[in-house]
């Protein structure tokens, strides 16, 4: 297909064909990472800026490697979210970066919609590396790529996403992508972590992990953040773990060929037991590997 899109802000706005095209492109890029010389000249002469307003070594490193393997020049900027009153606004920051003649900005930001705002301020391509509670499209894509690789097809697949759905950009990107490709999605969380109206995104809601674990093909487990407990959304990490943690016992009730995923980093013993993390059906490291290939495909398609 002919790729026309300039920015990647979320999976919500992508057409099925576009998602499939990214996944197919990823197949060919993954091979490069297995070569002795892991570099192709595809994006030679292009400059890509990693603009991270939230610390994230994993995502940043993954994007950086992806860019380098395509021979692009990269710069990483760790920035502070500035207030409106004092300091530099996002707009100033973006304009300054752009004045240095760059081709793409990869941005991680704590506020939903920040990349949309950025894309209105600059001429460069904008890639959303996670914005607030909104989307994390490349994570969604790499999760879906991994599921497709392991299960053959997304159509008809039953996927449970477990954890803090309300505040998860990973959940939203997974939901959009999986629904578009024909999967059945169930979100599992305590009622306080299920956002209002999520059924209208086409998912089922369940408050009990035990009820769904035997029925699904994929478990995508989200990282739980301690701050949520402090603001009253659930009583304790201990109780959360007892009700929603994937333990060895719980995994026994799952299908034999279940796929267990996690965007990382895992709180071992909280949302997932260490034994489960080491289980051969758990593919966290393959997700990391695929992440680089997905990001190579995205950069290639947006910047070629």
């Amino acid at each position: 297909m002919d790729w026309k899109r300039k920015h990647l802000l979320g999976l919500e706005e992508l057409e099925v064909e576009e998602i499939e095209h990214i996944l197919d492109t990823t197949d060919s890029f993954r091979e490069i990472s297995t070569r002795a010389i892991k570099k192709v000249p595809t994006l030679r002469g292009k400059t890509i800026v990693n603009l991270f307003f939230e610390p994230s070594t994993r995502t940043r490193t993954s994007f950086e490697l992806a860019a380098k393997r395509l021979s692009a020049d990269t710069v990483s900027i760790s920035a502070q979210t500035s207030s409106v009153v004092k300091g530099e606004t996002l707009k100033d920051t973006a304009r300054n970066i752009e004045a240095m003649q760059i081709d793409a900005i990869i941005m991680r930001h704590s506020m939903s919609g920040a990349p949309h705002f950025l894309s209105r301020c600059v001429k460069a391509s904008v890639i959303n590396a996670g914005d607030g509670c909104h989307e994390h499209p490349t994570q969604g894509l790499l999760d879906i790529f991994t599921m497709r690789e392991k299960k053959g097809s997304i159509k008809g697949l039953k996927v449970a996403i477990v954890g803090d759905i309300a505040h998860s950009r990973v959940a939203r990107s997974n939901i959009w992508g999986l629904k578009k490709l024909g999967a059945e999605v169930i979100v599992v969380a305590p009622p306080t972590l299920i956002p209002m109206g999520i059924e209208e995104m086409g998912v089922k809601v369940c408050f009990s992990l035990d009820e769904v674990i035997g029925k699904v093909d994929v478990l995508n487990i989200l990282r739980i953040q301690l701050e949520r407990q402090k603001c009253g959304l659930f009583p304790s990490i201990r109780e959360y773990s007892r009700l929603y943690g994937v333990t060895v016992d719980r995994l026994k009730k799952a299908k034999k060929d279940i796929l267990v995923m996690h965007p990382g980093p895992v709180n071992l013993g909280v949302e997932m037991a260490a034994e489960v993390a080491n289980d051969p059906r758990t593919v966290i490291l393959e997700q990391v590997t695929n992440g680089v290939a997905i990001r190579m495909a995205v950069l290639y398609l947006l910047l070629q």
Binding site: T89, S112, G113, D131, P195, M196, M201
Partner: protein, 428 residues
């Protein structure tokens, strides 16, 4: 010079007049309203095909002077008001310094009378510094000229202080205008809570954050016998509570803002900071309830909640943008387009929301074309098609989500105390 407005359809709800009549004005007063007044030694305005109504009143306007004269001055706000079809506006107290002292109220009144285009009636604060802790000197504020008290921008969190405000204001027969929001429930929300906030990943404000406060304030009005006015009601539940309170005969009134009947939370889709407003844009169902409430009289007034903000403050991430819409120049157009043309609320009912409705709440001797009354007149062209252009605003700010929208219906002339202060009638 005497002024005569000829051949317009005069709609004056206060006097139950609706017909093609002439109006004669002299020395800032209305002299005569009847058919075929001879136009001798008069300036003549031909209002054929247009609606001639009593001067419109906007009872909820944030002028930014004193404090943020870069966003709006008293003068620019008055010009924007005149261009929007308003002869009178109520200025809210959340300036810097706050209008919680006589000096600030007197300053606003002095500035406004120097400018003189239209009338400004200040609202004073209920509590000192809008902090919700101690009552402001409401008696002195009344002496200085306030027509209402309000901490608008902020709710009064303490039920006890709200009780005191309602009770104490009885002595001065002042309405207490409530910005109804339970901030403990709305938390750091930036938009309506629902499927849109879920999709966009923005923190939501449930409707109940408004309704809990409306219910509380109605109960306090019942307790005190004070006069309660609910600002910018935005939810179906809020309208229902008001309807019940009115049936009980409580002294409760309410206003709705144009954005709450013209837009839904769908408008937030692209994270345009101009759609951030408090209370937030709600669902389709709420919009329908607001329109119904306007039609059946549950809601007494339409008010802009005109809230100018600078460009720099708006060119930021959605969650960092301040709340508010620069709305006084699009208000009448939206009311005519949505309520009259699309939803078919009777014109006379719409005109009431801009005239007798707010006049009764504020105790103003305005909003009527009675003989001897101040010659405040708003002329409407119901069929005029126009496109909102923020760059043509008289307001100093540009924060509108309506830029580029095509509307049908507009205020085309504003006459304040016999003087034409805004005119876009071609033959004028």
């Amino acid at each position: 010079m005497r002024l005569i407005i000829k051949n317009g359809r005069v709609v004056d709800p206060a006097n139950k007049i609706d017909g093609v009549l002439d109006i004669l004005i002299d020395k800032g007063k209305i002299i005569s309203v009847r058919k075929n007044i001879p136009a001798k030694a008069c300036q003549v305005i031909d209002a054929k095909g247009k609606i001639v109504a009593p001067g419109f009143i906007d009872m909820h306007v944030h002028l930014r002077e004193p404090g943020r004269e870069d966003e709006e001055t008293i003068s620019s706000g008055m010009k924007a008001g005149a261009a929007g079809g308003f002869c009178s506006i109520v200025s809210m107290a959340n300036t810097n310094p706050v209008a919680d002292k006589q000096e600030v109220v007197k300053f606003i009144l002095r500035k406004a009378s120097e400018e003189g285009i239209i009338s400004v009636y200040p609202a004073g604060a209920v509590t000192k510094g809008l902090k919700g802790e101690e009552l402001a000197e409401i008696g002195e504020l009344k002496e200085a000229g306030v027509v209402a008290v309000s901490d608008d921008g902020e709710p009064i969190r303490s039920s006890f202080i709200m009780r005191c405000g309602l009770e104490y204001s009885k002595k001065f027969d002042l309405p207490v205008i409530s910005h109804s929001e339970d901030k403990d429930l709305s938390q750091g929300g930036v938009m309506d809570e629902g499927v849109m906030s879920t999709i966009l990943g923005l923190p939501g404000i449930p409707r109940q954050a408004e309704e809990i406060m409306v219910a509380r304030d109605i109960k306090l009005a019942e307790l005190t016998g004070g006069r309660l006015h609910i600002a910018h009601v935005s939810t179906r539940g809020g309208v229902e509570l008001l309807s019940q309170a009115k049936k009980k005969g409580l002294r409760v009134s309410a206003e709705a803002a144009p954005h709450h009947f013209a837009l839904t939370s769908e408008a937030v889709k692209e994270y345009d900071p101009n759609t951030r407003v408090s209370p937030p844009l709600r669902s389709h169902e709420d919009v329908e309830a607001i329109i119904k409430g306007l039609g059946d009289g549950t809601i007494d007034a339409i008010a802009s909640d005109h809230a100018p903000h600078s460009l720099e403050e708006r060119e930021v991430e959605y969650s960092l943008a301040p709340s508010g819409i620069d709305g006084i120049e699009t208000e009448v157009g939206l009311a005519l387009n949505v309520l009259y043309h699309e939803k078919k609320i009777k014109l006379v009912e719409i005109i009431k929301k801009f005239t007798t409705g707010p006049a009764a709440i504020l105790g103003l001797r305005e909003g009527t074309l009675s003989i001897g009354a101040k010659a405040n007149i708003t002329i409407l062209d119901l069929e005029k098609k126009w496109v909102v252009d923020k760059d043509k605003f008289f307001s100093l700010s540009r924060n509108t989500p309506f830029h580029g929208m095509s509307l049908k219906g507009k205020a085309v002339m504003t006459i304040h105390q016999g003087k034409i202060v805004y005119n876009e009638i071609n033959n004028g």
